[in-house]
Symmetry: C2
Subunit: 311 residues, 2 copies
Amino acid sequence: MSLIVTGTIGIDTVHTPTGSAEDVPGGSCAYFAAAASCYTPTRLVAVVGEDWPEHHRAMLSGFSGIDLAGLETRSGSKTFRWGGRYLENLNDRETLFTDIGVLAEAPPAIPEAFQDSQVVFLANTHPAVQLGFLDHLPERRFTVADTMDLWINTAKDDLLKLLQAIDGVVINDSEALLLTGLRNPIDAARAIMDLGPGTVVVKKGEHGAVLASGSDLAVLPAYPADSQQVVDPTGCGDSFAGGMMGWLAARGRWDFAELQTAIAWGTVSASFTLGSFALDGLVDLDMSVLEQRMIDYQAAARVGELASIRS
Amino acid sequence: MSLIVTGTIGIDTVHTPTGSAEDVPGGSCAYFAAAASCYTPTRLVAVVGEDWPEHHRAMLSGFSGIDLAGLETRSGSKTFRWGGRYLENLNDRETLFTDIGVLAEAPPAIPEAFQDSQVVFLANTHPAVQLGFLDHLPERRFTVADTMDLWINTAKDDLLKLLQAIDGVVINDSEALLLTGLRNPIDAARAIMDLGPGTVVVKKGEHGAVLASGSDLAVLPAYPADSQQVVDPTGCGDSFAGGMMGWLAARGRWDFAELQTAIAWGTVSASFTLGSFALDGLVDLDMSVLEQRMIDYQAAARVGELASIRS
């Protein structure tokens, strides 16, 4: 089933306790599409400025599953730039700078050839922009959005309208708390469901994820990673969403069992992002590599058999 | 296989954001034994003072799987008392008072009839006392200990000696960090393994647990609990250990697959402790109730099938 993602492409500068990466490809849309394109062809809609480096374009073009027909390069505009520094715990980070650039202008158009998309992911951007995209996706059947603290604080009315119009939300635990006032992620997920979407995934970073859909609940640990395997958390949440939505679009259904499987694939995809700077961990991934990691993950996260205590 | 637990029995006063419980049965040994005794007969070794309330004794005696032959009531001594208050997040707590009482005196004796015990859990107390118990357990085959920040800070040499003498450790994430200086729980578990024990479980509270044994790793989420199901976290770690060790003793083996199953049972047992004040959630539990919750837990924590994306 056709998958489309809208969101940001940026030029990132990231500092971690063990290294730095300057002016590397980033943005919610890039991470999502790079992860999702392993599972299913992925249509990308985003806008960059004329300063967008040619080698960034080359890298993104290297993902054969991404259709870049919706990527606009706008003359006279500047690409979104973000810089951040992760603290020693690698779970918290501070933003060093944000040059919003072309994101302050009109959003990119959804090409006519993409307007029949059925599975839609609205990666993080202003909720009014997210909502506007939906007008051009009349055949959408399953629409999920991400958001962030900035929009919860500054554009809550638009965000509440968006929530009424979509089927699912993927959100960080800290953002779920900010939006609902509820610290317990299950409470928060249910409160967000009361605002509209039938499915909510609360991402807990190194602590895994919670999925609530209807009256069903699922919980997953993160892929077990020691400190050698934790290089750069940037984009892990978007890659998680990419793995999840890529799986659902490939399967063409989103019943609870499929959603539960999808968040496991999201976890697997995110583990590759985590292990390298920028998009590097997602380059040259294919389903056979993903499946091997899924097998390792299933082995590590197995919940015990219900063997008798007498056997 | 015979299971023995040594540790503390106390009189607890607990305040949570939603309620309080005063002078209720508590202590590491009580929570452990109450949980473990569902799986296998559990020998308890502890000492209380003459002030220990008769209804506390009646409650503990009500757990038919606990053998109280090693419970000493010492004349002229006072029972250990602890009071604590949980913060709004229910993950952090402050100690209001600690009256160490009889714990400052000679430890209880291990009855001769208990000295052939094969599976041993040294619940939290001074590591020199934990080590001393081992002299009276010559037939032990699998010995696991818990510890806490107090002993890491004040009795580290004794703790390091203990670690050389045992097979496994069950420890909180914050204590694992304190002991090793390593925040990543997998790194910390491996560093503790370098100090002696072949198996380490790092408990992450609401975020589940990590198991490291030899070169194997397992990760589990906590049982999914919304805020209505989180009443009193006191004793959850001890109940987790009780479920884990009870299972291992019942099965009579502790290979990695069995350890992985055991931490799932520990998670299930702890979920009952969490849902009520003091030991109340563990009263009248039996394997059929535990198995039903295990089935629910397995369903919620299922890691997706490895179905083809084309099927």
